[in-house]
């Protein structure tokens, strides 16, 4: 039904996909398998018209196609159910399902009855027992996911892409979904199914495609595969661990986390009783698949969700009450956020002003900000971290990702933190910058800091960590010392639920 030839997609500084060749058959369920960042989502976004720019060729129903947008792809017969929900909360189920495809008469008057009836039928097929006039905001996440699926069914597409459709639904709902998939398969539709839950794939998929580092590694029949082989294929490469100094057994414990829980109103619990400790000089890597709660863990420790969280944080044997980031910072905990542009930097400000932001008191002279002191402070960090910028007066948004990330680090180092929380410190930066970041982390650990690094890149976790904490669905599923960690056992622990 669909064939891709040498699809390549480049983002600034990164090649997301390289010569991907796929063959998706009608009447079959094709599983796309790969680690975080393997390129699955990018590939699906190309197939569904979200990214119109790429190299290579897509042949759909024997016709070469090049979709200018999602509407184009839908018209051709490709529907996608995205991982993030794309529903409008204050419209009803019916209104959401028919959004952009409303039924009406020649005068543009909506035919509410017909839409209501059709929505009802769709919900019935999915065994969702809710009135179609209910607001989406009033639904549980699982039900919202089903509405998303109903939306795709309405299109009567020939190819349906499901990106992690079961990440938010209950087991009973999964069963229903599988029945729907089987029905679609019997109608000779093609299904592309992406999931981290390998058990599901063995249940529902006919074929598999393994992606790794943006390349197609292998395709084949699901039947001929085993669980362990599949994991091996996903991981695939041998890695050379960096020269890692073993954590000093006599090192002082700098951070202790006990029973951290996070439960936001009307949402499923994000973290369950997380406890661990980190010694000075130690780098602890936190690994988990999408949605495991890694980012939430760091944010909770840093005081971003004071109202929804509980648990205790001890820094340097002192119990700390953290109600806001300022409390954490005062206690010596700092956070390098996952999204440096959204949370880390004031992009429109000069480099020096970003660096001095958390420690403005240091550049004051008789109560006034002193330009000279500020420049000196900024220059010191620019030199120490090797930040490439024409001057400390450069506007931050003009710098490359790696250099921006170093600025976020610089602004914290001036405060001499005891505990460094790093959330995806190398996301979206190039290989050289990554290696520099790893070296910096080891230097800082060498100076006695306790470092917690969250990463979705397994290689990175194995390369820099002294100890690895694996999370899945808001719980710690394994704590593995560096010497015993392999890609296999880490990934297994990350998938280990059920």
């Amino acid at each position: 039904m669909l064939v891709t030839k040498n699809i390549t997609k480049k983002f600034p500084g990164v090649i997301a996909l390289e010569n991907v060749n796929l063959k998706i058959d009608a009447g079959k369920v094709t599983a796309i398998i790969g680690e975080n960042g393997a390129g699955k989502s990018t590939l699906m976004k190309i197939l569904s018209g979200v990214y119109p720019d790429y190299e290579g060729e897509i042949i759909f129903k024997d016709q070469p196609v090049n979709f200018a947008g999602t509407a184009d792809a839908q018209k051709a017969g490709i529907a996608i159910i995205h991982q993030e929900l794309n529903l409008i909360p204050y419209l009803t189920i019916t209104e959401n399902i028919f959004l952009g495809r409303e039924l009406g008469n020649a005068f543009g008057i909506l035919d509410k009855k017909a839409m209501h009836a059709k929505a009802k039928t769709l919900l019935d097929t999915l065994h969702v027992d809710v009135n179609p006039d209910t607001l989406v905001a009033d639904l549980k996440v699982g039900q919202q996911q089903m509405v998303e699926i109903a939306k795709a069914l309405l299109l009567d597409a020939d190819l349906i892409i499901m990106d992690e459709p079961t990440s938010a639904i209950t087991e009973a709902e999964v069963e229903t979904l599988f029945k729907v998939i089987e029905k679609l398969r019997s109608e000779n539709k093609a299904i592309v199914y992406i999931s981290h839950k390998l058990n599901e794939l063995f249940k529902i998929a006919d074929n598999y495609v393994v992606l790794r580092d943006g390349k197609t590694i292998e395709t084949g029949l699901m039947q001929s595969m085993t669980h362990d082989e599949l994991i091996k294929k996903m991981v695939g490469r041998a890695i050379v661990p960096m020269q890692k100094e073993l954590a000093d057994a006599n090192a002082k414990e700098l951070l202790r986390i006990e029973n951290i829980c996070l439960k936001q109103k009307n949402k499923a619990s994000k973290l369950h009783n997380i406890s661990f400790n980190v010694n000075g000089g130690e780098i602890v890597g936190v690994f988990g698949l999408m949605g495991a709660g890694r980012t939430e863990l760091l944010e909770t420790i840093f005081g971003v969700h004071p109202a929804a969280s509980s648990g205790s944080v001890t820094v340097n044997n002192k119990n700390i009450t953290i109600k806001k980031p300022a409390d954490a910072i005062r206690a010596g905990i700092v956070l390098l956020p996952e999204d440096r542009k959204k949370d880390g930097l004031v992009l429109g400000m000069e480099v020096k002003k970003n660096i001095s932001l958390p420690c403005l008191h240091e550049v004051e002279k008789m109560g006034l900000l002193n330009d000279k002191k500020e420049s000196t402070l900024a220059k010191k960090h620019i030199q120490q971290l090797g930040i490439k910028t024409p001057s400390e007066n450069q506007v931050t948004k003009n710098l490359s990702g790696g250099n921006q990330q170093k600025i976020v680090l610089a602004k914290w180092l001036e405060r001499n933190p005891k505990v460094l929380l790093l959330d995806e410190p190398t996301r979206g930066i190039d290989v050289n910058a990554k290696n520099e970041m790893y070296k910096l982390m080891q230097e800082l650990a060498g100076k006695g800091m306790a470092i917690v690094m969250v990463s979705s890149e397994l290689t990175e976790i194995l390369t820099v960590s002294n100890r690895i904490i694996v999370m899945a669905e808001g719980k710690i599923t394994a704590i593995i010392p560096a010497g015993e960690a392999t890609e296999d056992n880490v990934l297994k622990a990350a998938i280990s639920i059920n």
Binding site: K324, A326, M349, L360, L368, L369, V395
Partner: protein, 324 residues
């Protein structure tokens, strides 16, 4: 490299050029325009708007807005006038408190600060959008003014008080001195102290500012409080100038202040702008008003022209930032 810095200079220059061209046009069209007396006249006319617009700039830099300043101005003017004139009399307790000029002025400023503080509190603690919170305050403060004054003007004060609005000092009108003092202080605040830096950081990226340990709520509350206090100063100047506190004083002054801020190149989405730009913006509005009056243009057309200038300023600003 520092393209954006140049750009910044350029947009400042643009306002200056616009102001200069306006002056040239009016000077050619009217022989009364380019005189010292008229220049001082314009400066006195805009001084109240500058007081308000400086506070408004600080608020808009944090990506907020304050619609209540006009009403707050009226209330504070009335309170100062009332205390000066009648003091506080509580016959039932056989109590009378009289106010000196300084006392009455301070009381007016305290009232303005409290109203601003209340704005800030509602916006930060109860998460009410600034537009709505200050729209409510606009109505509340106007109502309080009517209640306090029973809807009548409070008039005729001694010359020491009216000096604040109509007097001269070293060749300049007193309100101009006051406005200049406020402007200089505000420039120091925005460029030279922590509060100013935090204001820019919050407007530029509130998340990053919060995660840098800045107490966002405290900064915002301070900014709204300052704006309230400055509106009070404006109210006192207006009262002294007219020798009367009018209950409907300051109506729609917030719009002139916002206009000055916007024409001065401060971004309504926060994080970008300057006090100096606002002063230029206020000057442009002032010169425009004055010139059109001198040319005998109908007040109805004056409004149309003023609106057009605001639009033009924002469009030019948008085009500048697109080029970045």
């Amino acid at each position: 490299m520092s393209f954006s810095l140049n750009n910044n200079h350029f947009s400042k220059l643009q306002s200056l050029i616009a102001l200069f061209m306006l002056c040239v046009v009016f000077a050619v069209l009217s022989d009364k325009f380019f005189t010292i007396a008229n220049g001082l006249n314009v400066m006195r006319q805009i001084s109240v708007n500058i007081c308000i617009a400086v506070g408004m700039t600080l608020i808009i830099l944090t990506a907020g807005i304050d619609l209540s300043v006009g009403s707050v101005l009226a209330l504070c003017g009335a309170v100062t006038a009332g205390l000066l004139k009648n003091g506080i009399a509580l016959p039932s307790l056989n109590l009378f408190i009289g106010f000196t000029i300084l006392g009455a002025i301070l009381a007016g400023i305290v009232v303005g600060s409290l109203l601003g503080f209340f704005n800030g509190l509602v916006i930060t603690k109860f998460k009410v959008p600034p537009f709505v919170a200050t729209l409510a305050m606009l109505t509340i403060a106007r109502g309080l003014t009517m209640l306090y004054s029973n809807g009548f003007p409070i008039s005729s004060f001694n010359s020491a008080f009216t000096f604040i609005g109509g007097g001269w000092l070293l060749g300049l009108p007193v309100p101009v001195w006051i406005a200049a003092l406020i402007v200089i202080t505000a420039i120091i605040v925005t460029k030279k102290i922590k509060l100013g830096r935090y204001i820019f950081a919050i407007g530029g990226n509130e998340n990053a500012a919060r995660l840098s340990g800045i107490n966002i709520n405290r900064v915002k509350i301070m900014v709204y409080t300052i704006a309230g206090a400055l509106a009070a100063v404006g109210g006192i100047i207006v009262t002294a100038r007219l020798d009367s506190a009018q209950p409907n004083a300051g109506t729609s002054y917030e719009l002139d202040a916002i206009a000055a801020v916007v024409i001065g190149g401060t971004s309504l989405s926060g994080g970008r702008g300057s006090i100096w730009g606002t002063v230029l913006g206020a000057l442009i509005i002032g010169v425009l008003n004055n010139g059109l009056v001198l040319l005998d243009v109908s007040p109805f057309w004056q409004q149309v022209v003023k609106g057009g200038v605001i639009l033009l300023a924002v469009i030019i600003d948008k085009m500048n930032s697109k080029n970045e």
